[in-house]
Subunit: 288 residues, 2 copies
Amino acid sequence: MNDQPNTPEESPLAARLCSISGGLTKSEAIIAQWLVLNEATLGLETGSSIASKTGVSEITVSRFLKRAGYKGLQGLKEDLQAALVHAHVSPADRYFRLLDSEIGAILKRDADAVLALAHEVEKPAWPAAIDAIAAADEVFVTGFQTIRGIAEDFTRRLSIVRGSVRFMSPHDGGLVEWIPSFRRADESRCLVLIDMAPYAREALPIVQTARGLGMQVVIVTDELNTWASAESPFVFHVATKVDAFLESTGPMTTLMNVIIHEVAGRAPEKARKRIKDWPPIMRGLGLY
Amino acid sequence: MNDQPNTPEESPLAARLCSISGGLTKSEAIIAQWLVLNEATLGLETGSSIASKTGVSEITVSRFLKRAGYKGLQGLKEDLQAALVHAHVSPADRYFRLLDSEIGAILKRDADAVLALAHEVEKPAWPAAIDAIAAADEVFVTGFQTIRGIAEDFTRRLSIVRGSVRFMSPHDGGLVEWIPSFRRADESRCLVLIDMAPYAREALPIVQTARGLGMQVVIVTDELNTWASAESPFVFHVATKVDAFLESTGPMTTLMNVIIHEVAGRAPEKARKRIKDWPPIMRGLGLY
DNA sequence: ATTAAAATGGTAGCGTTCTGTCATAAACAT
DNA sequence: ATGTTTATGACAGAACGCTACCATTTTAAT
């Protein structure tokens, strides 16, 4: 099922270069071959560096790239980046045509950010964080401003998968739930904090309070957050800058969904049972 | 003997950045973290692109790199290249070592769903829907259950971009806002409904009520929804099934963000002004 | 609160990269 | 051999990325 990103004969770049109509000239062949062989490090090259390494002149490189359909070396680099997304995600190139617009660029970056989440779940801290959420006797969730809703939905959806999950708004009397209860001193508690840099002033003290009470803290935040790592080992970064008017919260939502999926995976039979029970529960509640 | 080309905590770049004597300033910390998180694609970046993505100025990036011991971004790229040669890792599989796993599949499908949004944006109804939202004198937003939070966040974020946006919970006395006011009978109103099939029983009557009051209705829903198209021309479908325990709402969030971006684009100067005014507004409100 | 120090951003200038125009060289056909 | 086409390179202008100088803002210290 997987395409082979490494095999040169299957690389989209190679395919594109080979498909140039009318064959290649000697210099062009040299350039093309060099490009394919060095595809991995193309991003670090520059037009003239390629020229000198292949022994042709700068302008020939430029011309060749344009003939191959790229908009200069910069365009080739962009295409390379986009091709990554396409190669691994789309069954065909059915979207190519659509993705040239401004929105297309935003969508591409969002998709890329989603794929980049693979890095996060790969971290050693990831399974530990999932364990912390799955094993805790009680889970608190919080988030502010324009991602408060994501935090609330996360709470609802996590509640389908495991019990004792509570959204916490620190501003309407929220932290009272945390008053240490000695009757249940042995219970473990976990806080999931969703955070974005522009709105984060309130987050730090909450995390510190939670830590002080012996809670585990899982923090999902954007790339710009720098304080979180000092407070907890369970910090996961999501790319949110997509050059739109506002940041994108889509990838963050995806990550929350993955967390839920993984927590469910820690106790599959229980989770499935809860899901089975869920519709009747809803019906009983009318709508909400 | 094992090479860990991707593990952030072992990367030579990360090591070097961490070892800077005298600690990092706030901006520097942001830059450093961003560099580490995006090391895989650094080759495709440029000084100013990094600056814009991290929210600092070009010159701060330049200064920081010099302080870190690199000779500008070019020097950093050269160092990276040297490291890459050793690691034998192609940027093509930077994410995908683990994408054969179950989570990998989920991420891929989510990313694919995001790209597939290009189809929705391409529909003729799309610009019309954006117009309806942008031009309306008043915009109502609603959504239930596990996507209610998305609807609320959409309300908050759309409020940054244009005024008179209101989240509407039809169950706590919600529809009173709709009582026709003859003083403002000429005002146009628009409803944005976010919907998912499993929870949709309540949505239809709301839409019909809105239509009866002469409102435009924009509906964002999943692939399974069949009734919406009969009620409004502005229906957009998002793929939500990713074979996880629960549906994925990430792509839907992305689509809402795109809507906001487009609405902002309809009145750029006003939108930019609103964004500029936004931080003070927030501060004035304390936190929420 | 006031002052000093540091950090950051804006503007402008330099250097580099990229591309358009023209000229030269090579390949090819007759 | 000659003329024609094509490929390649040299030069220059445009565009962009990078850094030096100065102004402004932020932070820390008293």
